[in-house]
Symmetry: C2
Subunit: 568 residues, 2 copies
């Protein structure tokens, strides 16, 4: 991570032992991510495994999801970094052990708590797809192998750390897709997020999914994400009139001169605008509280003047007031950044504003003024961005909050964690709903690329099957639908899961990477996909398959476990 994780604040926990060779791996961002952040039933199961002498049986669990979110056909995998940090630091404190003991029935044997005292994740092995990859249903995002009781305890926190992270990263990627690459995308969601680290997590994973900056200062500090923000309506209405401005002088940009009365300079520009043939008539008296606020903000940030223009009336007050201040700043060698619109018809207002800016450029010969930046906010989402595109707009930057960070269109990703093997025996979970049947066996998975460089299909195989080879035909089968299968001759074969946490020493471990690199990977991955998988309306499903051998084994096991019905 580029920035230190909670440098010397909350992160400190001297009494937690560290867990199994974490070494240089830091702690989870949120100090509340401890081994107690799990469901009670993980402990009751751990006790039952322990009581049955089964707790050290080696189990393999797959973490995956069943359906892409937001009606789309892709998902961005995120949250792995936090998962590995949890695992590297997985160790119970004495307080935690005492609390677990108080929470389980008194009949539970004391030996179990000694067992808990001793466990960490040194015997757990994590294979995972790299964070930031584009991923698909059924393909394991993580394969967690280790003593069944320990891995069972990890189920809830791993799901918690992956589900929302992947959901919001995907949401960010989808917003970027609609907005287009040229727009600046700002995440403004902290106040509406689901709790404090709902906000911090959103900032982290929206950046990962392709946003440019956040308003969230804590996220800026934790992850090194660029920060953005100017002022609110309250700032505007906290002023009464320019009369209250005491210190009115402003140095020129190059320091060579001082404007003694910047307020007068602004007011004189306002008069010029009003008298202009090109611009006049649009407005009469502008709001005095607003002009006072804009002048004060410009005096504080002459190099970064960006004004919220809709507190009273955009075209009759906000825009002329902004322009008067921007022109007075221009006289002193400063270039105003732009305006923000937070209500009304954003398409119309942004176009009208652009015309006004261009009118000023023309009338007063201020080169570049027509290109002054327009930021829009106000409950934006994929649909409103799409609608703005269709109507035509002049917005350069979008500030997106509520819909983005709470994933309003679908606020949960249904990731699951299923046992696929124990003691080398493959296991299956059946269900009347075929989509809920798990794919048994310890597996590997590969992405097969076609001639044009696009990924064609993901395929799962048994752990010990030979990998697909470039140029060699391989049969890819739908895991549950007999008739869906296709031969593929891959031009490139990419193994999807790598080892991120070693069970045995000597194994190569993938290093955790800074968020900026994960973000780049994510953007590259999204670019790599065939466009029809990515479109908003009726995207083509990306194919997910199993090898012929795995297919046969799944169906053998299924028949074996399912009870034979009797028609009555």
């Amino acid at each position: 991570m580029a920035a230190p994780v909670v440098a010397n604040g909350p992160g400190k926990e001297e009494n937690r032992g560290g867990g199994g060779g974490g070494g240089s791996i830091g702690r989870p961002t949120n100090p509340m991510v401890t081994p107690l952040l799990t469901d009670l039933y993980q402990f009751t199961m751990a006790y039952a495994y322990w009581k049955a002498g089964k707790h050290n049986e080696r189990a393999v669990f797959d973490l995956y999801f069943r359906k892409n979110p937001f009606g789309g056909e892709y998902t961005v995998f995120a949250g792995l970094d936090e998962c590995i940090k949890l695992i590297a630091n997985f160790k119970f404190t004495e307080d935690e052990i005492a609390f677990i003991q108080a929470s389980l029935p008194p009949s539970c044997e004391i030996g179990f708590y000694n067992y808990l005292r001793g466990i960490d994740c040194s015997d757990v092995e994590i294979h995972a797809i790299s964070e930031g990859f584009v991923v698909f249903p059924k393909i394991p995002l993580m394969r967690v192998e280790g003593p069944v009781a320990v891995v069972q305890l990890l189920e809830t926190p791993l799901l918690n750390l992956v589900n929302y992270a992947s959901l919001v990263a995907t949401n960010a990627a989808r917003h970027r897709f609609v907005a287009g690459k040229s727009k600046l995308l700002l995440e403004f969601g902290l106040r509406r997020a689901q709790g404090p680290d709902g906000g911090i997590g959103a900032s982290k994973y929206c950046y990962m999914g392709g946003f440019d900056a956040t308003s969230n200062v804590a996220a800026g500090q934790l992850f090194g994400i660029p920060l953005r923000g100017t002022h609110s309506h309250a700032f505007v209405s906290s002023f009464m009139s320019p009369d209250e401005i005491v210190e009115k002088s402003l140095k020129s940009s190059d320091g060579s001169s001082v404007c003694k009365d910047f307020v007068s300079s602004v007011q004189s520009w306002l008069s010029k605008l009003k008298r202009s043939q090109l611009l006049g008539g649009i407005f009469g008296e502008t709001n005095q509280s607003e002009i006072a606020a804009f002048v004060s903000y410009a005096l504080a940030f002459p190099q970064n003047f960006l004004a919220l223009v809709d507190t009273y009336d955009v075209m009759r007050s906000g825009i002329p007031n902004f322009c008067a201040v921007a022109l007075a700043l221009n006289d002193l060698g400063y270039k105003a950044v732009g305006i923000r619109l937070d209500s009304g018809d954003l398409a119309y207002l942004s176009c009208e504003t652009r015309k006004f800016f261009q009118g000023i450029e023309k009338e007063f010969k201020i080169a570049g003024f027509g290109k002054t930046s327009i930021t829009a906010s106000n409950d934006l989402n994929e649909e409103t961005l799409d609608a703005l595109n269709k109507q035509g707009h002049e917005v350069d930057a979008f500030g997106i909050g509520t819909h983005l960070v709470t994933c309003y269109a679908q606020p949960a990703l249904g990731g699951v964690f299923k046992l696929v093997e124990i003691n080398k025996q493959p296991r299956i979970k059946l269900s009347e709903d075929v989509s809920k049947v798990s794919i048994p066996c310890k597996k590997r998975s590969y992405r097969l690329y076609g001639k044009e460089g696009y990924p064609l299909v993901d395929i799962m195989t048994g752990e010990n099957e030979p990998p697909p080879k470039v140029g060699e035909r391989i049969l890819c089968r739908h895991p549950f639908n007999e008739s869906k299968r296709a031969y593929v001759v891959p031009q490139r074969v990419e193994e999807l899961m790598k080892c991120f946490w070693p069970g045995q020493s000597g194994k190569v471990r993938e290093e955790l990477q800074p968020i900026k690199l994960i973000r780049e990977r994510c953007i590259n991955q999204l670019d790599l996909m065939r466009p029809d998988h990515m479109r908003r309306l009726n995207p083509t499903p990306y194919k997910v398959s199993v090898s012929a051998k795995l297919y046969d084994f799944i169906h053998f096991l299924w028949l074996n476990e399912a009870p034979v019905g009797e028609l009555e």
Copy 2:
């Protein structure tokens, strides 16, 4: 709070100075709730206020929302406790100051950072409605008064702490309303929550809103919420057959005897069930992996045997296997707790299961067996609970996760924080959308009760207006709709906001209360409401009003600030 707040783990932060007489008030639950958990623009505004010499002007902000969530007509106010803890500990560390300095333009003067170093909330005054109260749109939940720059910094964290807390508490209350008082409601959402403290917050506020317990162990430790949980599908499929059970003995409940081979005892019950005229024919061979798992779980928790019965087939395997184990336990004096259904037609399966239980009670004369508890889970929400009620079901307890904790039906509450007065001057924020116009002035608010004991209307008045009096007629006006007004003769008058954080010494401060008391208050408050406000379909809006004097003032100010249009 009943339980210590992160007892000796994450909460420690030796280097934060404490803030303005917090005294016995603890820190926020999540250590990431620091003064940096805010939007950057709060700092740019604070700088601009400071630069204009305006930072100490006394400002009043109202925190309120504009629309009840979930298509309902009420909201539960939650999150106040965390807000007061934030305020009591509001103080920047040197690291935080350094980060702010690095985030603002280099042109910002150094004096500002010295100013930030010195601030805390000792000069801030918080009036708020008590946590757990039923609340309505437009009525301030909190009134925050203090130096404008300091109060501005509080906007984002206060909204973050109140928005989701109130939303999820309301969601819990709504689920309780549909489920009915007799059902046990369990919150199971951690794995699908929006991040770690999305999960912890959900557990806290679902309990507050009327749930009985959570699966989230960390929330149990932090807040003393009762914990619940048994086992998952993975536990069932981790077993192969009863042959692998090594330690088969089980002591009787009173310790007087030992069953040497509990597995045989279960198998003999399974044969009896199969031969029974009443129950036979429903099932053939049950799943061996499942019976092994149930026996192991019963051996670990003979007093708390609750089994998940849908891993293979509910009626053909899960229920007979459960009953065989339960009956063998019964022979030893133990009473099985019950079963959990996690898929399929919950109405049908619960009724069939109940019949099976009752059949056993009758056939084998096991008193009470027919009442064995049935828990249902699997993507439940208000609608599915309502549908189950309509179809008829035999479920005793509901485990609710995703829809509850992510507030799937509406994942955000749009709480806002608006300036209503500065330097004793009332301020208004206009908007083309009337619902977005703020109600100016430092205000008080009252709940007026009618003859039947129900609340009739909430009314806001200016701070210095005489309060409404019992038995005295008062005119209640809709704040924006001239024609909507009504005379009310209150039988009881309740002032809604109390002082929770003192600005001046000597003021009485409301104490923060344990979560169990807030939960009781919430349940009582919900009971107090007239039923037609609470129903799911077409509920009657509860009336929210202003005094005649405040009405006149709002409209005077509005005309004063709005620009006069010119038709072209």
